[in-house]
Symmetry: C2
């Protein structure tokens, strides 16, 4: 099984996605939030790149059946129901609803993967479930990290490494690209305490400055939302029957 | 001192180079070769992106005053004097000559840095000299890795890490971007035996398949060409009076 990791959506080409499972990572915080929402019973998450897109889409939904969700540069979007904190996406808030969502980095990464054979959502919240799914599918995988402001982001890389490391026990032969090798090394440096490495990430530091330590604590908890979520036809839904 | 590492020339923007020292790395093998040549007394190295450029430039030089140098996809270019093996660039071959050079990855990285305040060439051959130079200059630095075929390449990342690690003793406060953090970690994993990590790099494996183990051995030898080389006005020259 070939595993490649891409630090940003711009660094992967369409031909590198063909016939592969794309694994989208934006651990602080978009994919953590999406997984929390789906684990807590929302119907679906529809990612958009622009705020205007989200607002336009909402006109197609019945009142009370949807929520406007997301952030720009860590801050909530004015007029939206929920920001990008996974802690807001409780069962009470989201159950049965369609979440129309846009974030600075993560939703762009999801959309980039449209040409892959299969697209799944990943954060530290579901590393076991993702490893299990990839091992069963057997397709080569491309981990697409959202990055931060178009740049390499350590938090996403460690997350990819956490999945890769879990594949060692499940798949006989792994063929790792250079950044996949690095991702696994970096994860192993901090498997006992993820903060130890991830705290050096620019995005982690910015979130701490914004008073989001509780969000970070949630996002760095392994397997907090142990589900598989698949992106297909513009919509992310939980895959039933899969629990890690 | 702020230190950022960029995995490929495409991942750095002009504004990220402004007022900075750009440190160009293509350890397997362009920058190792350039440094070997300058250490062995060539007059200058003139990097070009295309083979045709090299041939066109040569018309401006007197016979016997220049050499056509480089490779495409690891193989020598037909009609050129020297390939990209640093072992060919002996004093006997290169002394006093202008080397007109093009490589698949490295010379593109050199040219990308033109907007930086200052551009220097780096490989494992001169990590001490580069660290010393950066510490004296005090400007922020941007390490631009050539990468391999436009992708993250572990060998270049470890090289950046080797310099960053040496700056710890020389500079009071280092502010590292995410990939700079990773680069330093990866270097520290293999400081005692660089092959231990770099052998996992795709480019290393390709070179071994091409029978270039001796080149690899040279390129992974620390401080084999302990000079500083500066790129200015289209030309790379050795900085006199600097020896690590």
């Amino acid at each position: 099984m070939k595993l490649n990791v891409y630090a940003t959506p711009d660094s992967v080409s369409d031909k590198e996605l063909k016939d592969k499972t794309a694994v989208i990572i934006d651990v602080l915080r978009a994919t953590s939030t999406i997984l929390a929402a789906l684990a807590n019973g929302c119907k679906e998450v529809i990612p958009a790149v622009e705020v205007e897109e989200v607002i336009a889409m909402s006109k197609n939904y019945e009142k009370d059946s949807f929520l406007l969700c997301g952030e720009r540069n860590i801050q909530p979007v004015e007029g939206f129901h929920l920001s990008n904190s996974p802690l807001e996406y409780t069962e009470e808030q989201v159950s049965g609803k369609s979440l129309l969502m846009t974030t600075t980095n993560g939703t762009r990464a999801v959309r980039r993967a449209m040409d892959a054979k299969d697209v799944i959502i990943c954060s530290l919240s579901n590393v076991d479930a993702v490893a299990e799914y990839l091992a069963e599918q057997e397709d080569d995988a491309a981990f697409i990290c959202a990055g931060t402001d178009g740049q390499f982001s350590l938090d996403d890389i460690v997350t990819a490494g956490a999945v890769i490391h879990r594949l060692r026990d499940r798949v006989e032969h792994l063929d790792l690209g250079d950044l996949a090798v690095v991702s696994e090394y970096m994860y192993k440096q901090c498997a006992d305490d993820l903060h130890k490495v991830i705290k050096h990430s620019l995005h982690y530091k910015r979130m701490m400055e914004c008073g989001l330590a509780d969000d970070i604590e949630y996002c760095l908890t392994l397997n907090a939302a142990p589900i598989v979520a698949v992106y297909k036809d513009g919509v992310i839904k939980k895959l039933d029957g899969v629990q890690a």
